[in-house]
């Protein structure tokens, strides 16, 4: 951790990167009656952290390494990158995201994050609308953060986004929800550390949450919804 203020800027929910428009599957879980209170919210967050949170954290970490190599001249814009590069990571995330709605949501957030990142730092060459974890790695590398920092932001955001959506959707006590997040902090740190180690070893996780995949498609058919995903 060598650029603490940059790290805070990147993790801040006020970063204009569109994250507030997404509930991470929570809106669908609330509509289905699966999340109703802080207890069921905690279960939702634990499952999300262990699945899509772990995957996002590992890919963000791997993308820092790939973006650092690309910035050092290891790759040409738009191609020429082996499967370990940013294009390869982006393809590998497609393979880990069977739901078309979640692929769209991830790329929309990736594009928004790239836009915000470009306004702050000089970014490495990258696919045009990358998956969000790839964009996070690219932006983190540009901010001189390391792979572990990017994993840490990804793990953190995998629970804070749905938690704040829960306050808005269910009218839960924001203090109680913040308490849930504080009790998940250790799990979040562990997930980020595990994700960083797996990315460094080239062992990218593929943990999936079937309900998030299925209900993302249910949610995408609604005519009226508060969140984009």
């Amino acid at each position: 951790m060598n650029a603490r203020t940059s790290l805070l800027l990147l993790a801040d929910s006020r970063l204009p990167a569109g994250a507030h428009a997404h509930s991470g599957g929570l809106e669908a879980a609330v509509a289905a009656g699966r999340v109703t209170d802080t207890h069921t919210l905690r279960g939702f967050l634990e499952g999300r952290l262990a699945t899509s949170g772990l995957v996002a954290a590992a890919f963000a970490a791997a993308a820092v390494t790939a973006a650092t190599a690309a910035a050092a001249g290891g790759a040409t814009p738009g191609g020429g990158v082996a499967l370990g590069g940013l294009d390869g990571l982006d393809l590998a995330l497609d393979a880990r995201t069977p739901s078309p709605a979640l692929r769209r949501a991830s790329r929309a957030q990736g594009r928004a994050l790239m836009r915000a990142g470009r306004a702050m730092w000089t970014l490495a060459p990258c696919p045009a609308a990358p998956h969000q974890p790839v964009a996070l790695g690219v932006v983190a590398a540009a901010a001189r953060l390391d792979a572990g920092d990017a994993a840490f932001v990804a793990a953190y955001q995998s629970v804070t986004g749905p938690a704040s959506a829960a306050v808005r959707l269910l009218g839960l006590d924001p203090y109680a929800v913040q308490g849930v997040l504080a009790r998940l902090a250790g799990d979040c740190d562990d997930t980020a550390a595990r994700a960083t180690a797996r990315a460094a070893a080239g062992d990218l996780p593929a943990a999936s949450a079937p309900l998030l995949d299925i209900t993302a498609e249910v949610h995408a058919t609604w005519e009226v919804r508060l969140f984009a995903s």
Binding site: G25, A29, A32, R34, V35, T40, R42, G43, F44, L45, E46, G47, R48, L49, A50, T51, L91, A92, D94, A95, R96, T97, P98, S99, P100, A101, R103, D187, L204, P205, A206, A207, S208, A209, P210, L211, L212, D213, I214, T215, E217, V218, A220, T221
Partner: protein
């Protein structure tokens, strides 16, 4: 217990599928049981012993040649029991151009206290076809499951098509909660890979079931079921 099984399927000049090599060891015993309408071979895995048990290391390799068609089934559910350590079942498959593999085994039942890792690695050449079904039941009736992790890794034409892993049991945080299984007792997935699939929209089949078109040439149907 360590065991290895192998099936090599090739097409003869008349387009019928010949099994040029079928080998197995208890508890993985493949037996040719019939033919498909398309001339393909049907093979059943017959149970040679209980298990897998903790500590078992099982590997199974399938090779489907150009133009060959192979359907693999099992005669009964696979029941994973605790034992001495982790049980592992690693399935690898290569499907050549014009080859078709149907992997349609009975469900895997993860009993209390088991520790099981199943990995399936499928490499499909351009123009190959696959139907791959996995069903995981979380414990026998009224039983909480042990730890079971099932991974499916599929490449098509050398590129990743699907990387998917389910984990249930006490070591998988939040597995039965609202994001992962939502209290369901079983997960079913069916991957269909076919270069002739037309682009399609996702379809919602029910509150916990959907057909998901992949970014590559295939679709994944995911369904969660309450346990009977």
């Amino acid at each position: 217990m360590r065991a290895h099984a192998l099936i090599v399927a090739e097409a003869d000049p008349a387009g019928r599928t010949r099994l040029v090599d079928v080998r197995g060891e208890v508890p993985l015993l493949p037996r040719r049981t019939g033919s498909r309408a398309d001339g393909g071979a049907v093979v059943h895995l017959v149970g040679g012993a209980a298990g897998p048990l903790g500590g078992d290391e099982l590997t199974f390799h399938l090779e489907v040649g150009e133009g060959a068609s192979l359907e693999v089934r099992s005669v009964a559910a696979t029941i994973v029991y605790p034992g001495n350590g982790t049980s592992r079942l690693a399935v690898t498959a290569n499907v050549a151009t014009g080859g078709t593999l149907h992997w349609l085994p009975e469900p895997l039942i993860a009993t209390a206290g088991c520790v099981h890792i199943g990995t399936s690695t499928v490499d499909i050449a351009d123009g190959g076809r696959v139907r791959w079904r996995d069903e995981l039941v979380c414990g026998r009736h009224g039983e909480d499951p042990g730890d079971a992790r099932l991974g499916l890794s599929v490449r098509y034409g050398g590129k990743p098509l699907l990387e998917h892993e389910f984990a249930v049991g006490p070591s998988a945080p939040g597995w039965s909660a609202a994001a992962v299984l939502g209290g369901a007792g079983a997960i079913g997935s069916l991957l269909e890979v076919d270069p002739d699939l037309k682009p399609e929209d996702p379809r919602v089949l029910g509150p916990a079931s959907a057909v998901l078109p992949l970014a590559g040439p295939g679709r994944l149907t995911l369904s969660l079921l309450q346990q009977a």
